[in-house]
Amino acid sequence: MWWPVSQVDILGKQSTGKKGLERASMPTQPPEERIKNFGEVSLGYSPEIARREAARCLQCRHRPCVKGCPVGIDIPGFVRLIAEGDFAGAAAVIRQDNTLPAICGRVCPQEVQCESLCVLGRKGQPVAIGNLERFAADWERETRGGAAGRTVKVNGKKKGKVAVVGSGPASLTAAAELNRLGYQVTIFEALHTPGGVLAYGIPEFRLPKDILAHEFQQLERQGVELRTNVLIGSTLTVDDLFAQGFQAVFLGTGAGLPNLLGIPGEDLNGVYTANEFLTRVNLMRAYLYPQVDTPLYLGKRVVVIGGGNTAMDAARTAVRLGSKVMVVYRRSRENLPARREEVLHAEEEGVEFRFLTSPTAIRGDEQGWVEAIQCVNMELGEPTENGRQGVKPIAGSEHWLPADSVIVAIGQGPTPIISRTTPGLETGLHGVLKVAPETFMTSREGVFAAGDIITGGATVIKAMGGGKKAAQAIDRYLRNKNSRLINQSMSEG
């Protein structure tokens, strides 16, 4: 580990908390360095910085920050322990509510969650809760190897078998919770590497893959079985799983099906969905081609369409592959759904932004390769039903931007494989699975779901929160069912 290189304060504002301390900025690799590598951008706090930052916390009695965390971590509790230098204790507190703190500390949109409600944020800068969470988790992993520091109850006798489908954050959390509750859990993942979006979507420079690998090692060590290369709905159906003796099935299959623009020229060569582009780079490591077998052609000028985390990841990945990148977004800067830190990092890395601009057509050369993209300027209009400001095209403002590749990052929906092959599974708008509010049960008895598959594209922590609640609901369901069965057999016998 090494510390400050450039001290870029990602929030820009200065502020003082308790004892007149300023929010500790996150040490990062300098932009001119990091655009040449895939190493992590944010380097993490040193113990000294972490303690200093933690000391700013006012230990508010009413704990507003906790309400901003979808899994309700005892934030003042762990922050206080960091301030006191009890890092192991801090990690343990976090683990009570969050099984993947090293990941959440890195990828949560803290500015709209926990940190948005921190009282220090009213007059200045909130406590860097995400950075501190990451610090405690990294410290635990690096000094204690994670599991060694964690006591794992392994019940000799298991309560029953549960199948967990997919291996993204929803499934990871559900599997850990079910295992803790005493079930024998098997995870089925379609791809060759587990992790869902954490593996194929979010790049190494934001979330090092060995952190993810570590989490799976822990799970396997705790007795969870992991089977890759199994597409549920095809290799095995949900009914096959029940036939194999699984008493409940959890679906955490995410929202992987990429949306397309539906404009002329989208089938030209050099037009990628962000998922294809990121999968080639993250999962298949195409940046090492020809040392690996997966190729990727990008070209000099890359235009990325969209304004979410996916768009930022695509843009910053393209920068690292040596391209000049422009992000085209139809709304204004204030509306960018991406994490603020990613936007600032993207700007530092030379990504150019065109706001209030929307693509209308893509043009190709004689060989069918992208040559330019036509865009139209947008103006702000009436607010839409979901409260966001509407935008509409300005007539006559069409213009062409040169481009060698276009990456489309405008959202994803669930893939239809499971709903097509599982009789009785009801879907809602855009193909999301319908579940009962408290029980997370789908319209099929014994089949539960959480994460992006029920919400559409959301966040890692929301998927985790859902996965945990669904696991607890599965436990209630199976305990009920088993006691019903016992009662039945007693009254019959």
Binding site: H192, L236, G256, N269, R280, D293, P416
Partner: protein, 283 residues
């Protein structure tokens, strides 16, 4: 890990592999495929399942060595392991009793069409099979197809076996002979499928093609495999691989399959044409 149980050369540069994959074998239906990855640094490539045995837990793949990954596979032998193999993928072919069905295969398409032709015969259809290849040494599966077809006709580009010319010549002949054809299935290089499609469109014969765009995941997640069918964009791996030929935009498909020629990777999706099959038959 998926063990190769047997390997056999069946034509020039074409190998047949029997692979242990019990879950895949149990659930496969005609028209489906797998995506495999040979090793840690390997690419994921799609290959059709040309036969399977649920009881033995095995699948049969027929692979033509055309490029980087397929050549590495050609160097593997019985006893070796394939690191990752996912399947069965894609929608099963829709096979119903319709009457007379013409199965047209170009090159390695023969491997893909075989399980479908067999199922057509099983459901009671009269099967006529047309095979196109570059030359005699590129032909395979003739006996297997003969066993389930009323007739097998072969065309080679160089005339070293059967008709000298293209499979479309044979199809044109069948039509000229006045045989009533209820359905045509064509699998092979894009120009061949396009030529068949144009011909059958003129004669108003329902035609199915099995497409082979570039794929990455094979689960509907990346969109690399998108093809234009009618007014819609379809993902070949989950909506296909079979489509109504008369709706397919072949020129866009051909262009997209040439993706890697520019990046310096040796691509062979169009090269399959060169590897012989009656593919240059354009018209």
């Amino acid at each position: 890990m998926f063990r190769i149980l047997g390997k056999e050369a069946i034509a020039h540069n074409v190998w047949k592999y029997v692979i242990a994959a019990p879950d895949v074998a149990k659930n496969t239906q005609p028209g489906q495929f797998v995506v495999l990855r040979l090793h840690e640094r390997g690419e994921r490539i799609p290959i059709s399942i040309s036969d399977w045995d649920g009881d033995a837990g095995t699948i049969t793949l027929i692979v033509q060595a055309v490029g980087h990954t397929t050549q590495q596979l050609a160097e593997m032998n019985a006893g070796d392991h394939i690191l990752d193999l996912l399947g069965p993928l894609g929608k099963p072919a829709v096979i119903e009793p319709v009457g007379t069905v013409v199965c047209i295969a170009g090159g390695v398409g023969t491997a893909i069409i075989y399980p479908e032709a067999r199922r057509h015969q099983e459901v009671g259809n009269r099967v006529l099979t047309l095979i196109g290849a570059r030359s005699r040494e590129h032909l395979f599966y003739q006996e297997e197809l003969a066993a389930i077809s009323e007739r097998v006709l072969v065309a080679t580009d160089d005339g070293s076996y059967g008709h000298k010319g293209f499979v479309t010549d044979l199809l044109r002949q069948l039509i000229a002979d006045g045989i009533h054809l209820d359905q045509v299935i064509a699998v092979g290089p894009i120009p061949m499928m396009e030529a068949v499609s144009e011909l059958t469109k003129r004669h108003d014969i329902k035609t199915i093609v099995s497409l082979n765009p570039i794929m990455v995941d094979g689960t509907g997640m990346c969109g690399a495999c998108r093809v234009r069918v009618g007014d819609e964009i379809k993902f070949c791996c989950i909506d296909g691989p079979e489509f109504d030929a008369h709706q397919v935009d072949f020129s866009s498909l051909l262009r997209r399959s040439q993706l890697y020629e520019r990046s310096g990777a040796s691509c062979n999706s169009t090269g399959n044409v060169e590897e012989g099959c009656g593919g240059q038959c354009h018209r």
